[in-house]
């Protein structure tokens, strides 16, 4: 089954067995109905690689991961790809806060080799000085090393796009031109805990494509419209999405800014962002269905149910290592059954 980004939620065909079982719904009642409903849920593949290092062969890992999740390289030829790292509030004293430049360079190499026109774009959410964010995160050097362009999404001219998600009361979004005109947007978060949302991964990272010039620093328009709802709506309204998670040196505890370093050595890749985020939630010890934005996305933008996610590369169960979270009720509610330490 083709799972290129054009078809990033795989819809299973009902085979004869399914139809036979389905025909028994009237007899078997709700349990059967639930099975049918589940059978129609989308499926997705997520690739997990471990033992990764920033000085390793990350481009090979990313390429292999994307191929494993069904990407067809020829779809990128001549297409515009924007890589969106996480540079929310960079500080070189807290390098585990932002996407490592080596991962950005590796991703540029992969998509360039597949014939794409690649740029790196970000609208840092907490700082107006984008140059500072670039320098502090190391992404300035990465962009130079990779001989690509950087798009300052905070200050670009904007283009209106309707809200295709409909979960918040926003009619649409002002996207920077680089994003509105992109064929693919690649969300490249650092794997971190988030003291409001539980975790920040590929879906929440896309807050960072919206321009501060319109939405403010912080992007308070979105907060007032509901964080889970606007995460959903932004993801639903963007061009085709791909996710590459920097899970090598991660952040636990008081993320997304002030948490502690946690070495995981992971790269996680896929073409369905809810499935990626559900997988990384499981890895860090959160229950995806209890993470509000993932609960909203479930079955709509992609699957979060483990049975609907085909794990490529490493199995997530083999790399689970619960992250510390703050001792706050709203976060503790997101914990999966495998308990982890709290930061108090």
């Amino acid at each position: 089954m083709n799972s290129t980004p054009q078809n990033h939620c795989e819809q299973p065909k009902l085979d004869r067995r399914a139809l036979l079982i389905g025909s028994g719904v009237a007899v078997t009642g709700l349990a059967g109905a639930a099975w049918i409903s589940n059978a129609w849920q989308p499926r997705a593949k997520v690739f997990v690689a471990r033992h990764q290092h920033y000085d390793g062969r990350l481009a090979d890992t990313i390429r292999d991961g994307l191929l494993a999740t069904g990407i067809e390289p020829n779809v990128f030829r001549g297409r515009r790809v924007v890589l969106k790292p996480n540079m929310v509030e960079p500080s070189r004293k807290i390098s585990h806060m932002t996407t490592h430049p080596a991962v950005v360079v590796a991703a540029v190499e992969v998509f360039k080799n597949w014939g794409a026109a690649v740029s790196v774009g970000e609208a840092p959410g907490h700082v107006r000085d984008t140059e500072m964010a670039l320098v502090e995160s190391g992404v300035a050097d990465a962009v130079k090393d990779a001989r690509t362009q950087f798009a300052d999404l905070n200050y670009e001219p904007v283009v209106w796009r309707p809200n295709r998600g409909g979960r918040s009361n926003l009619d649409g979004f002002w996207f920077p031109r680089s994003i509105a005109e992109a064929d693919f947007v690649v969300s490249m978060p650092k794997l971190k805990t988030h003291h409001w949302m539980g975790l920040t991964a590929t879906m929440k990272n896309l807050y960072g494509v919206l321009p501060g010039l319109v939405y403010g620093w912080p992007k308070n328009v979105l907060h007032h419209a509901g964080i889970p709802q606007t995460v959903y709506d932004i993801n639903a309204s963007l061009p085709q999405l791909i996710g590459i998670v920097d899970g090598i040196d991660c952040m636990e505890g008081d993320g997304p800014i002030l948490g502690s370093r946690k070495a995981m050595g992971l790269i996680i890749v896929g073409t369905n962002l809810p499935a990626i985020d559900a997988t990384v939630a499981r890895i860090i010890g959160l229950a995806p269905q209890r993470v509000p934005y993932l609960a909203l996305a479930d079955g709509q933008l992609g699957p979060i149910n483990d049975s609907r996610i085909e794990q490529m590369g490493e199995r997530w169960r083999d790399v689970v290592s619960p992250f510390k979270i703050l001792d706050q009720p709203h976060l503790k509610r997101m914990r999966s059954e495998e308990s982890g330490a709290l930061v108090t």
């Binding site: 003291h195 308070n220 008081d254 703050l326």
Partner: protein, 296 residues
Amino acid sequence: MTVNLTLDLIDRLEEDVPGGYSRGGEPTTEPTALAGLALAAHGRIECARLAATWLANQQADDGSIGISPSRPTPCWPTGLAILLWRSIQSVTGSDAYGDSIDPAVRWALAQRGRTQKRGPYSDHDTTLVGWSWAANTHSWVEPSAMFVLALKAAGQGEHPRTREAVRLISDRLLPAGGCNYGNTIVLGQALLPHVQPTGLAMMALADEKYHVPQVELSLNFLQRELCEDTTTSSLCYGLLGLAAHDRMAAERFEWLQRACIRSISEGVGCYKLALLALAAAEKYPFSNDRLAVLAG
């Protein structure tokens, strides 16, 4: 490559008005207002007038000015336009742009950042009213500081809204000094300060009779953080924040020269050129003595 700050930079800036955030980009309100302020500070009044008139032409009937001609909202740069118009009045001794200033001030005073009940999660006083980036959202440090500067320049320094915003900015300073976009302590943890918002906050809090201890700590933070590698807009706002309190870094021109060379070689737009020119001005360009002299 050597750059004479007071000649090459200003000449380049003159060519770029009205200008944008990137070279050759769409002219936008904030860069054009800052460019006008810088040109006025360096005595290039005719070109400053070009910027001021361009802004006046963008003004909506309600007095506001959007972020660009193609985006009439949000209107947070309106305060910067007031500052430029007042600056030209002060330099020329005329009442030019009075018809633009009055409605802009009325509009500014009618805008209120959204408040909320104080909760257990954030330390700052969420009931104080300042200015927000976008309508119907919370008040934050930078837009509040811009409007405080503008209203002081327009002779509204004692207006209750200005006073409350001064309290708000003071409240958002971190316990150890400096500030960020406007959060202080969240879930028990003090957040990180940044140079650019701290510089702007210090500009807004200059000339205040009452200073919280964090002002001194914030000035110390700026003095500690600024260096030859500080990126352009942070460097400029940091230096302006210090200058507002009569503190000048000895290495100021050396740092600005370096930032100027870097910026010009990168082909930056009007926005950064304007900030460099403002930070390089001989006299602090936002002094209330200078701007409020004609305010009624």
